[in-house]
């Protein structure tokens, strides 16, 4: 069977750097930090009191009040990002639009944690009589964002959610890509969202000692590849892509951002949270994606790393990059945009795929900000694109994401050439 080509024809983004694609990209190339003190709850007793929150997001600007009340924040932002991407693609305005052939594959790492927390807190504060809200379960479940997007836009093609912790939305892109490749859909709204900046979310990750505690300087706390990095900074975001079968996109004269070249997924099979010390799963997933794309490592110009700013994770991934790319590793641009967005967990994959897409479109590499001191445990001859964006021709870019549980996922995008 001849696999079909898949292109990106629409993008939506709600990120700590801005509430649409252009604001997000401007923030990235200008090296803006999205971190600040937490406003979503009282974090005064928490070890970490800052995060990368969305700025000025008002759900009622997009959804009516009654509708918004029945949605967890992770679904609210998923819907808004999907609306943006669908509008951007103009796919619904095309005579060739067939709602039975357009699906939604949307991810989240955790789902409606805030809803879960509030409902259980109310129950625990009562006398044991169950008074759960009837919307508790449909607000909380992780697949509901995917369901809501389909209902809002009447999209009746394949519809499900994908979960692999912080790799979730890369896995979603992979599933969407493959469904279109084998002819199961003309287009799929894919991506992911995450919003768990709450007592349970921050307290839970704090207990694992996974997060930065640099409360005296939140904006420089996310510092991947810096010697003094002390953990990740939590972010919240939603990103959406319209993946479309190439011929379908061409026939309706769609704007094409880039082509999806290939994807890969592997497991470390090693530890629940620690990466394999040799970056084995990370190495295999990049090789798998290159193989899927039918590309040589030397054809990649930019690697957007998982690079969460944790002491162990950054080292293992860089080791994997030098093994996969060999001498070419020194010609690549490498950057971790988490230095600006924080770690948006289940939404990290898609917003970083968007960073790659925009780097291919604009021939510019967003930086790894907050670099102060080289880490002697890293090969500092590599180009980590420290502190300032760099212009270069970007024919192809690769994005890595890794999730607790040892999941690794990778997507490669390349310049669209008819």
């Amino acid at each position: 069977m001849q696999l079909k080509r898949v292109v990106v024809t629409g993008i939506g983004a709600l990120t700590p750097l801005g509430n649409n694609l252009q604001e997000y990209w401007n923030g990235l190339v200008n090296g803006v930090s999205g971190a600040d003190f937490i406003t979503l709850f009282d974090a005064s007793k928490f070890k970490t009191r800052f995060a990368c929150e969305l700025k000025n997001f008002d759900p009622t600007a997009f959804l009516d009040k009654k509708e918004a009340r029945k949605l967890d924040r992770f679904s609210q932002i998923a819907i808004v990002a999907a609306d943006q991407a669908i509008e951007d693609s103009q796919i619904k305005n095309s005579p060739s639009f067939n709602p039975d052939r357009v699906g939604v594959v949307f991810a989240s790492g955790i789902g409606g944690l805030i809803t879960f927390q509030e409902e259980v807190k109310a129950f625990a504060g009562g006398d044991g009589t169950p008074r759960f809200n009837p919307f508790f379960i449909p607000k909380m479940i992780l697949d509901i964002a995917s369901g809501h997007i389909s209902m809002r836009h009447t999209l009746r093609g394949p519809n499900f959610a994908v979960v692999s912790a912080c790799a979730s939305s890369t896995n979603a892109i992979m599933e969407a890509f493959n469904l279109i490749r084998i002819g199961k859909a003309d287009a799929i709204v894919t991506g992911g969202s995450e919003s768990v900046i709450s007592e349970a979310g921050v307290g839970g990750f704090n207990a694992m000692k996974a997060m930065s505690e640099r409360n005296d300087d939140p904006k420089t706390a996310s510092r991947p590849y810096d010697k003094d990095r002390d953990g990740f900074v939590m972010g919240e975001a939603a990103g959406a892509l319209i993946l479309e079968e190439y011929e379908h996109a061409i026939a309706r004269g769609a704007k094409i951002y880039c082509e999806i070249a290939g994807t890969g997924a592997t497991a470390d099979a090693y530890h629940i949270t620690a990466p394999h010390p040799d970056g084995l799963g990370a190495k295999n997933v990049m090789l798998s994606a290159l193989d899927d794309a039918g590309m040589q490592a030397s054809e990649i110009d930019y690697v957007n790393t998982h690079g969460t700013s944790t002491p162990l994770g950054d080292i293992a991934e860089v080791k994997a990059i030098t093994e996969v790319f060999g001498e070419h590793a020194y010609k690549l641009n490498i950057s971790s945009t988490k230095s600006m967005t924080g770690h948006c967990l289940g939404a990290a994959g898609v917003i970083e795929a968007i960073a790659c897409i925009m780097s291919v479109v604009n021939d510019e590499i967003p930086p790894t900000i907050n670099h102060f001191t080289d880490d002697p445990e890293l090969d500092n001859n590599l180009n980590f694109t420290f502190n300032k964006s760099q212009k270069r021709t970007v024919n192809a870019a690769l994005s890595n994401t890794f999730g607790f549980g040892g999941h690794n996922a990778c997507v490669i995008v390349k310049k669209y050439k008819g």
Partner: protein, 78 residues
């Protein structure tokens, strides 16, 4: 309008996102005010909370209009 009726209507306006003028005694939650089955369950729970009573399921099923809710609560509210 009784104090109970005012409180009932306020809950309905808030939970169903409807205009106050629509909330007449005859209005049916599902047919006139756009409630689905989950909205109806939520309304009953809100009435229970507001008036600090417990409405048995078989009674709850008979409350389908604004007027029915008001008279049930006028009779049973403590």
């Amino acid at each position: 309008m009784s104090d109970i009726a005012t409180r009932v209507k306020k809950i309905i306006v808030d939970k169903l996102g409807v205009e106050e003028a629509e909330v007449t005694n005859e209005a049916s939650f599902t047919n006139d005010l756009g409630a689905d089955s989950l909205d109806t369950v939520e309304l009953i729970m809100e009435f229970e909370k507001e008036f600090n009573i417990s409405i048995p399921d078989e009674q709850a099923e008979t409350i389908t209009t604004v007027g029915q809710a008001v008279s049930y609560l006028e009779e049973h509210a403590k």
